[in-house]
């Protein structure tokens, strides 16, 4: 039994030998870091292409009142924001009559 244990103690941990095929050596080391970085870049680009573009236009204060003078000036000076301002103003113009008649009013905007 002691012999057997002594025999077992002769075994010591050892690093495995290098893979003999040199082409496979490329699969080790920093190449994985590069591959991961590449995949992350592709995913980021795909997300940017598919997702809504961030609104880079400078925010301009909307007209204080929905009357002819201020609205015309705004529309002519900010034609790309005129549509959005009209839409936002619509929210605050009329309460929904059905909501007003049916007790506590839920938020008007149906998100």
């Amino acid at each position: 039994m002691d012999d057997f244990e002594n025999r077992l103690r002769e075994f010591t941990p050892r690093r495995p030998a290098a893979i003999p095929d040199e082409r496979l050596q490329f699969l080790r080391g920093p190449i994985w870091v590069a591959v991961a970085a590449g995949m992350a870049a592709v995913m980021l680009i795909a997300t940017w292409i598919r997702g809504p573009r961030p609104d880079t236009r400078a925010a301009v204060a909307p007209p204080a009142s929905i009357t002819l003078g201020p609205m015309t000036t705004f529309a002519l000076e900010n034609p790309d924001q005129f549509d959005a301002v009209l839409t936002r103003m619509s929210h605050s113009l009329l309460p929904d009559v059905r909501d007003a008649l049916s007790g506590p009013r839920p938020p008007k905007e149906s998100q």
């Binding site: 002819l68 003078g69 201020p70 015309t72 000036t73 009209l86 936002r88």
Partner: protein, 258 residues
Amino acid sequence: MKTVLTLLLGGLMIVARADAQAPASPNAALRYWMAFALMKDPPSDQATMTMFDRVAAGTSPWEEAKLGKFVDDNRESLEMMRRATKLTSCDWGLEYELGSKTPIAHLAKARVLGRLNGAEAARLAARGQLAAAVDVWLAGIRFSQHVAKDGTLISLLSARLSLSPALKSLARVVSQSSIDAGHRRDIERTLNMIPPAGLDWPDAMKREAEVLATAKRLDPKVNAPMPSQARVNETSAEVAAEILALRASLASAAPRGR
């Protein structure tokens, strides 16, 4: 003398009676306000608006999961609006005597309802109900005419936001699908009823000058300039080109439909 007086009085009575009995032409603007009161505004965030506009213009496919609910929520308003577009009279009752302080709240509501109408047309087209979609787009064109009615430049710019997507969508559908002859005629009839540049831009500029004069009379310190005629010409030319494109689609589709 007595006979002449009797005849005159009799004539006046007949005229007065006829006047009292003449049915007043229903005012589409009042129906639109009713539709606005029932309208449930969809969210006004940029992403939703962009999605609506792309769908309405046909540059993105219909998104039932994201937009269907808003169209369903507004079915009553949309039907009311479409019925009103068939009326000939539309008087928004704008108080131009207030000059630059004239309220124009209807334009904001009209923009949202016009957008919802375009979305509903896109939904019908996506479901293959092309004839119904054409009817809805045509209602959108008539609606834009009413929105612009007796308006200054701002009314026309607002109306154009609903008009252009309808024109573009019709041109696309007509060129890609076989629209029946009846609906092609409906489109032609509607186009024949609107100005070559879609809206009456010279009339709006004339009214703009009048309102500006009123504003200056009310407040001599007002020094707002007239809008640039060059830019107005540019915009009207864009709409005119959209109409020509639709006419060209109709002309090229006609032989296929026969």
